[in-house]
């Protein structure tokens, strides 16, 4: 069984992001594995450990620096890595085509995992596009995963918290949500082991992807300026609690 995990090299969420040139960001910041992809890797390793002969392959479209993200994936338990090298930032249309082609050239997927979204673009596109290209079923933001009789049984969570259960035939594509598992981070011995695991590098141009006619481009990036209007809540604890309830009910509308 071959389990492919698509991992993305994204800016560190703690970095100070500066918009440059109107549609890009200053790249002189740390890039790391997309946090949702950590759940995907952890799940893939769990599945592999139960199935004899199964293999987890982490695959990434990104610059040379993305080797760090693959090393993180290997340290977390993936068996080997594939880096599709590109110096540009691509849209989900091309990303999905590149990953699909690279996976096909590498092996034959029984299961493809991704994170539920990347924390930079938050597009939630790539997993659906990969599924469409392979003609595999896709469920995103899964919070529970089981394999039984060549079927994947997954719980999908809507943003409202409602959970639906789906059965999919393998091969399929699933996007890992945060509630799926606790990422298993590597120890130093894991990190040492990962250094010896193979990483295959292919240039994006060598994949010979047919020309993509549709594309999406970022027209403009603007920093989100949050307006804050702090108000001091005064009075006794009881009065303060009443005021907070009023605010939560009528202003924030988070309780009814």
């Amino acid at each position: 069984m071959q389990i492919y995990v698509c991992v993305r090299h994204v800016p560190d969420s703690a970095a100070s992001i500066t918009v440059t040139g109107g549609a890009g960001i200053d790249q002189n910041i740390a890039f790391l594995i997309n946090p949702f992809d950590e759940h995907a890797i952890t799940q893939a390793v769990k599945i592999r450990d139960k199935i004899q002969g199964a293999e987890v392959i982490a695959i990434c479209l990104g610059p040379d620096d993305a080797q760090k993200t693959l090393q993180s994936s290997l340290a977390m338990g993936a068996d080997r890595g594939v880096l599709v090298q590109t110096s540009e930032n691509h849209d989900s249309i091309l990303t999905a085509k590149a990953l699909k082609t690279a996976i096909e050239q590498d092996g034959s997927p029984d299961l493809i995992l991704t994170g539920k979204e990347s924390i930079d673009a938050e597009g939630m596109q790539t997993m659906f596009r990969i599924g469409a290209l392979f003609n595999f079923p896709v469920v995103n933001n899964i919070v529970k995963f089981n394999i039984q009789d060549n079927e994947a049984i997954v719980d999908h969570e809507f943003s409202s918290g409602i959970v639906n259960r789906y059965k999919m035939t393998l091969p399929c594509v699933v996007g890992a949500g945060k509630a799926l598992n606790v990422p298993k981070y590597p120890t130093f011995p894991d990190i040492v082991k990962a250094r010896k695991k193979p990483v295959k590098k292919i240039a994006l141009t060598d994949l010979n992807i047919e020309t993509v006619t549709n594309s999406m481009t970022v027209v403009k990036l603007e920093p989100l300026l949050q307006k804050r209007n702090p108000e001091e809540i005064k009075g006794t604890a009881v009065q303060a609690a009443e005021q907070i309830v009023q605010i939560l009910k009528f202003e924030a509308k988070v309780i009814s």
Partner: protein
């Protein structure tokens, strides 16, 4: 508007607050001014607040050991003052200094003997019992993960350690400064916040006061620079002071990491402070069962000297701004990962980046200046938190003596410790000294 005080103390961190407290006890009318909103919010808040006594000089050991006595009796030191935020807690974990090539532990042990520090010698079995997750192989020399030799298998074992039972850490360093502020206020001290000093005024070669950014002038015949990472800027504001210092200070960027303890190890309750020169790290427990991992500044690590205003504004770019760098995260966590092989290291860095107010030889400057009335307690270099209450008393006595005519430059004040039977030659901390090559030139002091 013009106000008059006996002394203005620039900075209300863990060193500035006790200077006010001790001067107030002597009858001085003091005012602390700080550019941040509350006491201890500056680099004090970023301190690891370790209270340990191992230093490379007997004087360093003595001062730290004197400090223990204050932390161990915190309420009494504060004269039982009440603080609405509660009191900082001294977590008396004890401290293990691993015997390694990264520390001159023989010197430390001799210093302990000379000063009379309570300690025990532990062999590897004893350490293993205390810290069951530890691998006591020798990993020396300290390297970076970018170096292939970093991953070499160790062959030798370490040779035990020195345990100091009275050591530990303070759970909330900012709160400890706040506590001292409340104690000082109870003795009549005043504190103002959100007040940035833009000028230190003098006339006829004598201090007259300070000017704040909003134009407010405050007069006093004594001004004390306790500006932390901004100390060199304050010294430059006072006429002739910066030029008159042979030892200068500047701001050094420093990263401290938070990494979760292995599940099976209740580090927050069972853990010790440990200084591990063999891997260039020191660790202590942090809330959430985390390891707080500090660096002992091994030679292979980069040193980033930064402009404090740029740094706190988040400028300077990767590795120089106030965001943890992934490279250093890996360096410190992987080093500790060698000592603790079950330590799981998250991919996302977590921790604190702040500044040391670092002197040329990593030894502080506790001194007068060439401008009468201007004093300084600067260059604390990441290792003076534990000494703060001692420094408060020593500085107050130094200022008082100089104001009463002591020629400290030529006849240095001898400070008599309150708890241990020893005297400190305050001239050791002189701004006029030559660089002290006995120093470790690191946070170890």
């Amino acid at each position: 508007m013009s106000e008059k005080y006996d002394a203005i103390i620039i900075g209300a961190g863990v060193i500035g607050a006790p200077i006010a407290y001790e001067m107030a006890k002597m009858g001085y009318k003091t005012l602390n001014v700080d550019k941040l909103p509350d006491a201890g919010e500056g680099s004090t808040a970023g301190s690891c607040a370790i209270v340990r006594a191992h230093y490379s000089t007997a004087d360093g050991v003595a001062m730290a050991y004197e400090g223990f006595k204050y932390w161990l009796d915190w309420e009494n030191y504060l004269d039982n003052v009440e603080d609405e935020k509660g009191l900082a807690k001294y977590m008396n974990t004890g401290s293990i200094l691993l015997k390694s090539q990264g520390h001159d532990w023989k010197k430390v042990q001799a210093n302990y003997d000379e000063v009379g520090v309570d300690y025990e010698e532990w062999d590897n079995d004893k350490i293993k019992k205390a810290v069951p997750v530890a691998d006591l192989h020798e990993f020396w020399p300290v390297r970076r993960p970018e170096d292939p030799k970093f991953y070499d298998e160790p062959t030798k074992a370490l040779g035990g350690g020195i345990f100091c039972p009275e050591a530990g850490y303070v759970n909330d360093p900012a709160l400890s400064a706040h506590n001292i502020m409340r104690a000082a206020e109870a003795k009549g001290s005043k504190f103002i916040f959100n007040a940035e000093v833009v000028d230190v005024r003098s006339e006829n070669n004598k201090i007259t006061g300070i000017t704040l950014k909003d134009g407010t002038k405050i007069d006093a015949g004594i001004v004390v620079n306790v500006g932390g990472p901004h100390s060199f800027q304050i010294n430059k504001m006072a006429e002739g002071v910066w030029e008159g210092c042979n030892i200068k200070t500047k701001a050094l960027r420093h990263e401290v990491m938070y990494c979760p303890s292995p599940d099976e190890y209740d580090y927050i309750n069972d853990g010790y402070h440990m200084s591990d020169g063999d891997i260039g790290c020191y660790v202590r427990p942090e809330v959430g069962n985390l390891f707080l991992i500090g660096s002992e500044d091994p030679d292979c690590d980069p040193q980033e000297w930064v402009d404090p205003d740029e740094f706190y504004a988040g400028k300077g770019g990767h590795g120089r701004d106030n965001v943890l760098s992934e490279e250093q995260w890996k360096a410190q966590c992987y080093r500790l990962g060698k000592r603790i092989p079950s330590l799981a290291v998250p991919n996302q860095p977590k921790g604190v980046v702040d500044l040391y107010d670092c002197s040329d030889d990593w030894i502080p400057v506790y001194d007068k200046s060439d401008l009468p009335g201007f004093y300084m307690a600067i260059g604390t270099s990441g290792n003076q938190y534990k000494n703060a209450p001692v420094v408060g008393r020593m500085m107050a006595e130094l200022i008082d003596a100089c104001e009463k005519g002591l020629d400290h430059d030529n006849e240095p004040m001898q400070y008599k410790y309150k708890f241990i039977d020893r005297t400190m030659n305050v001239g050791f901390f002189s701004r006029k000294r030559e660089i002290n090559y006995n120093s470790s030139f690191s946070v170890n002091g």
